[in-house]
């Protein structure tokens, strides 16, 4: 049986189940306890687990993440919530210079089992400092894992696995997905990190994406189906380790690839995925690998400009038309 719940609720269930299962798991972050989480992901956890395990902090990101990593150094399994990924930049020294490297630098003596959860993404007119997608920054770092679910079911299964994983995991949620609903199994389940999933099977073009862009790809695929273009939609789900095999396998079948990311195109995840496709499926490609991504600009506040900056389903559709040779037209409406 399955229940239909919101992404936010799925995350809440994952946290609750893991905290019930393992007394070493605790939650720490700004507004996670009494306020219930800035996006209400941790709502009710203080009431169930008490202030020893659900801990509100001062606004001190470097110290919050350091607390998580330090506690993990001696065996606890913290879940750190950062209010948004934008604030993770204040903690980047702890994440990159410490969390990602302590196991390696200690010759394997330390295990840093910490999950750092943070919402990211744009779409709520929050302006340039609150709308970034920084997954490629963290995916760049050996020693970190980067998990980025799009659906409630994936959010729950991947968060539970991330909490049980013995490494630092950047778990990136999306602000615009918290209210989105989907079916989640009633029984307990885990989803493995590092495994992509084909969310829609198709034969003409591979739409490769993750997080909120997955929903856009599925929408575009419906529209393309009406035009006789059968799109396959691949949800990468984990950026590091990257499941290149599933991505390349899809492209070998469809011979065309479009990578869709909400992040900036330049030096973004799409560049890495494109490289993997070229390395693994060069002889299979019938068209250049394309990318649909955000405008190369800080995110503007004004709604019209913000929507212009973000990738749209229309852009994905026109990119698909172009690579399948159905119609040539300008792909990027900003050019």
């Amino acid at each position: 049986m399955a229940q239909t719940i919101a992404y936010r609720e799925a995350l809440n269930q994952a946290l609750r189940e893991e905290m019930r299962r393992d007394p070493d798991v605790f939650i720490i972050g700004e507004e996670v306890a009494e306020y219930g989480g800035a996006y209400k992901v941790t709502e009710g956890l203080l009431q169930e687990f008490g202030p020893e395990r659900v801990i509100d902090t001062p606004i001190s990101e470097e110290a919050i993440v350091g607390t998580g990593i330090g506690a993990a150094m001696i065996g606890l399994r913290p879940v750190v919530e950062l209010m948004t990924i934008n604030f993770s930049l204040l903690a980047m020294d702890q994440i990159v210079n410490h969390g990602a490297k302590l196991r390696y630098m200690s010759g394997g003596q330390l295990q840093i089992a910490v999950v750092i959860r943070a919402p990211q993404g744009a779409g709520l007119q929050l302006g340039a400092q609150h709308s970034q997608n920084l997954e490629s920054l963290y995916a760049h770092i050996p020693g970190l894992k980067v998990v980025i679910p799009a659906t409630p079911a994936d959010a729950k299964g991947l968060l539970k696995s991330s909490i049980r994983d013995n490494n630092p995991v950047m778990f990136l949620e999306h602000e615009m997905l918290y209210a989105s609903k989907g079916e989640v199994p009633d029984e307990e389940y885990l989803l493995p990190l590092g495994v992509a999933e084909v969310k829609r099977v198709g034969s003409d073009v591979s739409l490769i994406s993750y997080s909120r862009m997955l929903l856009l790809c599925l929408k575009a695929a419906e529209q393309l189906a009406g035009e006789g273009i059968d799109a396959e939609v691949v949800d990468v789900r984990t950026l590091r380790p990257l499941d290149a095999e599933t991505i390349v396998g899809s492209v070998k079948k469809t011979h065309k690839a479009i990578i869709v990311e909400e992040d900036w195109r330049f030096a973004g995840m799409g560049a890495e995925i494109a490289s993997k496709i070229v390395e693994g499926a060069f002889d299979y490609l019938d068209a250049p690998v394309m990318r649909v991504a955000a405008a190369e600009a800080p995110m503007p506040y004004s709604k019209q400009l913000e929507q212009l900056a973000l990738p749209s389903a229309d852009e994905i559709v026109s990119a698909a038309r172009q690579v399948t040779g159905r119609r040539l037209e300008t792909v990027d409406r900003r050019q």
């Binding site: 605790f26 020893e52 902090t57 001062p58 001190s60 470097e62 110290a63 993440v65 350091g66 607390t67 998580g68 990593i69 330090g70 506690a71 993990a72 150094m73 001696i74 065996g75 606890l76 913290p78 020294d93 702890q94 210079n97 410490h98 302590l102 196991r103 390696y104 630098m105 200690s106 010759g107 394997g108 003596q109 330390l110 295990q111 840093i112 089992a113 050996p142 020693g143 894992k145 013995n166 490494n167």
Partner: protein, 326 residues
């Protein structure tokens, strides 16, 4: 000497062990310098010569299951916490037998089973980690403590202030030990801090503070006893400023031209090792022959460490990709 009576509490064995450990660290560091100039050791090498009394005095009151978080001038702290010099030397050589299997180096010594949690190369970077260690101790309701050493440069980092606020706010058993050796690399304290009296930089967090002569191992030990008791029994953080001095430059690459010869000479007169030696002699705990025998023993141990490092294998190529993930 107002604290003389208190000093007599320490057993002779404890006093001799502190002396021996300072000798060991000094001999280790001077040998490391020699091997660095011979090209046996790479990277940065920040030596602890002159500051031995701080690590030895402080760590002498800790239990094996207590934790220490250091910065990048940490060889002495690692040895004081119980690591055998040969494994620390092998680490400097980048050998597979090093404490961190040759993957950490001078700035990243770890001996986790003895509670030595690094070895951190970013100024102030260990301070947030120590909050987490203290947090975990409180979470598990044990009576351990965490001691975090850092230098005078770190007081100007945001991490310093975030960390002090949080350990005080949450009453964590963390003792922050500022080793004020007067210079952050080549920058004298007064050139970097609006308040040259650095203990005042910690004054607004409602943490009990104490300043101690970091060139006097007994004074450090006594301050440590007070602080550790407080942290262990009352679950409270403490802040200690140890006034100390490094006899060498910031690293082996630094001729320390920013300090006068006279200044260095003045501080060398306060060298903690002869000072302790005098104390032991004054109290008739050792003879000159005993001292000589100890020095010979320490020199042999350091030579053995060098031989061990020299004869140990380098890490195999496979080690490059080992221990990135658990």
């Amino acid at each position: 000497m107002a604290v003389r009576e208190e000093r007599l509490i320490h057993t002779k064995e404890e006093l001799l062990e502190m002396y021996r450990r300072m000798l060991l660290i000094r001999a280790f560091e001077e040998k490391a310098a020699e091997m660095y100039t011979k090209g046996k050791i790479g990277g940065f090498l920040h030596l602890y010569s002159g500051q031995e009394a701080v690590a030895v005095g402080f760590i002498s009151v800790l239990r094996e299951d207590d934790y220490v978080v250091g910065a990048y001038r940490e060889h002495g702290q690692c040895i004081a916490k119980g690591a055998e010099p040969k494994y620390v030397m092998a680490e400097l050589y980048g050998k597979a037998t090093g404490v961190s299997k040759g993957k950490g180096g001078s700035m990243h010594m770890f001996d986790v089973k003895r509670g030595f949690l690094g070895g951190h190369g970013i100024v102030g970077g260990g301070m947030p980690l120590a909050i987490g260690v203290g947090f975990a101790i409180k979470y598990r309701k044990t009576d351990q403590v965490c001691v975090c050493f850092f230098g005078d440069g770190a007081v100007n980092e945001g991490a310093f202030h975030e960390a002090l606020n949080m350990v005080a706010l949450w009453n964590l058993p963390v003792i922050y030990v500022l080793e004020n050796n007067m210079y952050a690399m080549g920058t004298a304290v007064y050139r970097a801090s609006s308040i040259p009296d650095l203990i005042r930089r910690a004054s607004c967090y409602d943490i009990e503070r104490e300043q101690v002569d970091g060139m006097d191992v007994l004074a450090v030990r006594e301050a440590a006893e007070r602080a550790v008791r407080k942290a262990r029994e009352d679950k409270e953080p403490r802040f200690i400023e140890a006034i100390t001095y490094r006899f060498r430059g910031h690293s082996m690459a630094d001729p320390a031209a920013y300090r006068t010869k006279e200044e260095v000479e003045e501080w060398r007169k306060r060298d903690p090792i002869p000072r302790m030696e005098q104390y032991l002699k004054d109290n008739r705990m050792v003879t000159d022959d005993d001292i000589k025998a100890m020095r010979t023993e320490v020199d042999a141990e350091i030579q053995e460490a060098v031989d061990f490092a020299e004869s140990s294998p380098f890490p195999p190529p496979d080690a490059l990709y080992e221990a990135i993930y658990a």
